[in-house]
């Protein structure tokens, strides 16, 4: 019974924790501009994140050490530092975007300007990371994030032409008003949003925090192979809601409030209340995860004591990194940079950094010194290799497409 409860809790938090500001903004924006014609990218991205999260979780469960820790040991400090710098820069941008997302959600609920909320949110994130237990953070925000299911309810209540939605998704084509380079630019952005590097580092370090062992492999796999795809369905629901309401109205998404409009139209004030809880939980939870990922990466690279499973005093340098990252993110946002624009750039830069994150994970997951009989099998290696080609192609194409399309204009 206890095991079944743990399994269900893990799956539910994986669903609720899957969507972050990158998924919210990119799916809303893409749905409003391209309809469901980029739904295939979400599917490709979700399969990819499942492949690498499973490897990363397996490494943590079997070796008892986080992926980044092993990358430095296995590949040496030079490769490790390239991996560290790339993933940290992208994760820092994502962290700032998440704090901005929380502020935007609070602005929608209170109409108090987001710039007044930003320092408050930053302080709250830091306080939670300092005082609240890891499992509480993960479970509370993951479960509250399930409120975003209201997007699926809204799609159902809007009574769309289901056959048109399906045909749009199954037979993707570039809409008349859009060009092919812009279509591919947003395909890469959507792919970057689904496969954000912080997710795997957080997942593996979280496994160590929760003291996973080989016995937890089944639970970990259920979280990944059930929770993540269901989270991906939430992403598709966001895109579908935008397709039904925002696309015909010719709304170009550049705010979180616009993404909420289909839900308000379909479900009224009650739906909006659920949505605001979902926005807050998804972005606040992801802000905690991204901040922790920065701390984990730096501390694991330099070999410092890390984690929330020890007293903050015993992991002082880890907590100092968390504090500095939070102050830096607040400072970045207070330059009055638009959090939505920051999110759009962060998902594209995520795509650029993907090979540096996922190649080392594939190498470590193949090392029998650490994993013994649990090292990658043929299926995992075949999928991992295919995805490496995909992430490499996305990474190489991202900057030229960004310049050529003027960032998707």
């Amino acid at each position: 019974m206890k095991k079944a409860f743990a399994l269900m809790l893990g799956v539910l938090t994986a669903i609720g924790g899957f969507v972050d500001i990158g998924d919210l903004v990119t799916n809303g924006l893409v749905g409003a501009r391209f309809g469901m014609s980029l739904a295939w990218v979400v599917v490709v991205g979700v399969v990819g994140i499942c492949v690498f999260a499973e490897m990363s979780g397996r490494v943590a469960a079997v070796s008892g050490r986080a992926t980044f820790d092993l990358i430095r040991e296995r590949l040496g400090p030079r490769v490790g530092v390239a991996n560290l710098v790339a993933s940290m820069l992208v994760t820092f941008l994502t962290f700032a975007a998440e704090i901005g997302g929380v502020a935007l959600a609070l602005q929608l609920a209170t109409s108090v300007n987001r710039y007044l909320w930003i320092p408050v949110v930053g302080a709250a994130v830091w306080l939670v990371l300092w005082r609240v237990k890891f499992a509480t953070v993960e479970n509370a925000f993951g479960l509250a994030g399930l409120a975003l299911i209201v997007f699926a309810v809204a799609v159902w209540k809007l009574s769309p032409d289901w056959s048109a939605l399906w045909s749009d998704a199954l037979r993707p084509s570039v809409p008349e008003e859009e060009s092919l380079p812009v279509y591919w630019y947003y395909a890469i952005a959507l792919f970057g949003a689904a496969m954000t590097p912080y997710e795997v580092f957080f997942f593996s370090s979280g496994g160590v925090e929760e003291r996973w062992s080989a016995k937890n492999l089944a639970t970990m796999r259920a979280n990944v192979f059930v929770g993540f795809p269901l989270g991906g369905l939430l992403s598709l629901a966001i895109a579908a809601a935008a397709t039904i309401v925002l696309m015909p109205a010719k709304v170009e998404v550049d705010s979180l409030g616009q993404i909420a409009l289909p839900v308000v139209q379909a479900t009224g004030k009650i739906g909006l209340a659920f949505l605001l809880v979902g926005f807050f939980a998804a972005t606040f939870g992801a802000a905690c995860e991204t901040s922790l990922s920065i701390g984990y990466s730096v501390a694991q690279y330099f070999g410092w004591q890390w984690g929330k499973f020890v007293e903050p005093l015993r992991a002082a340098r880890f907590h100092t990194v968390l504090l500095l990252a939070t102050v830096g993110a607040i400072a970045l946002l207070l330059t009055t940079v638009d959090p939505i624009m920051l999110t759009e750039y962060s998902v594209v830069f995520s795509a650029i950094a993907l090979p540096l994150t996922y190649l080392p994970i594939l190498i470590v997951a193949n090392d029998r010194t650490y994993l013994g009989d649990h090292a990658n099998g043929r299926v995992a290696n075949a999928l991992g290799s295919v995805y490496l080609v995909v992430v490499l192609a996305a990474s190489v194409a991202a900057i030229p497409l960004m310049l050529f399309t003027k960032a998707g204009q």
């Binding site: 308000v264 009224g268 310049l403 204009q409």
Partner: protein, 148 residues
């Protein structure tokens, strides 16, 4: 060797500029600028209109509607200044400039009226502002269609 090191810095410096409006070099480019300005204004008025309709039908709380309409109104000034700041390349383009700025300005006025009505919680004035928004949006759409 130095140029190799300079490349990432140049890229980082150029990337934030890629979203800027291009200067019109001829009438064709000026028309494209006009279309972009109209598209952005149509988007702003459409999202405000959806929010106003939701408020009038009792589906949206006042604060949520206020945020959306204020954001839409706030996006009009940058559109006006970026399009209005570009000189028409030929005298024959002056009519396009006047038509676009007039339509964008009318939409801005309707958004201001909607914002005031929401903050006063005056549903009668909000319904009137909603009608004005709809008219402004129709004008924007027909002008946009005339540009191809």
């Amino acid at each position: 060797m130095r140029s190799r090191h300079a490349l990432p810095a140049v890229l980082l410096a150029v990337l934030p500029l890629t979203g800027c409006v291009t200067t019109a070099v001829d009438s064709g480019a000026y028309v494209e600028n006009g279309k972009a300005a109209l598209d952005s204004t149509i988007s702003a008025t459409a999202s405000a209109q959806l929010a106003v309709q939701a408020r009038l039908s009792g589906d949206a709380p006042r604060m949520f509607t206020d945020v959306l309409v204020t954001e839409s109104e706030g996006s009009i000034a940058p559109i006006e200044s970026s399009f209005g700041g570009v000189d028409p390349p030929n005298p024959s383009d002056d009519a396009l400039r006047d038509a676009v700025l007039d339509a964008v300005g009318t939409a801005g006025d309707a958004l201001s009226d909607a914002r005031v009505a929401i903050r006063r919680d005056d549903m009668t004035a909000l319904a009137a502002a909603g009608t004005d928004l709809q008219k402004a949006q129709s004008a924007l759409k027909s002008l946009r269609e005339s540009l191809g």
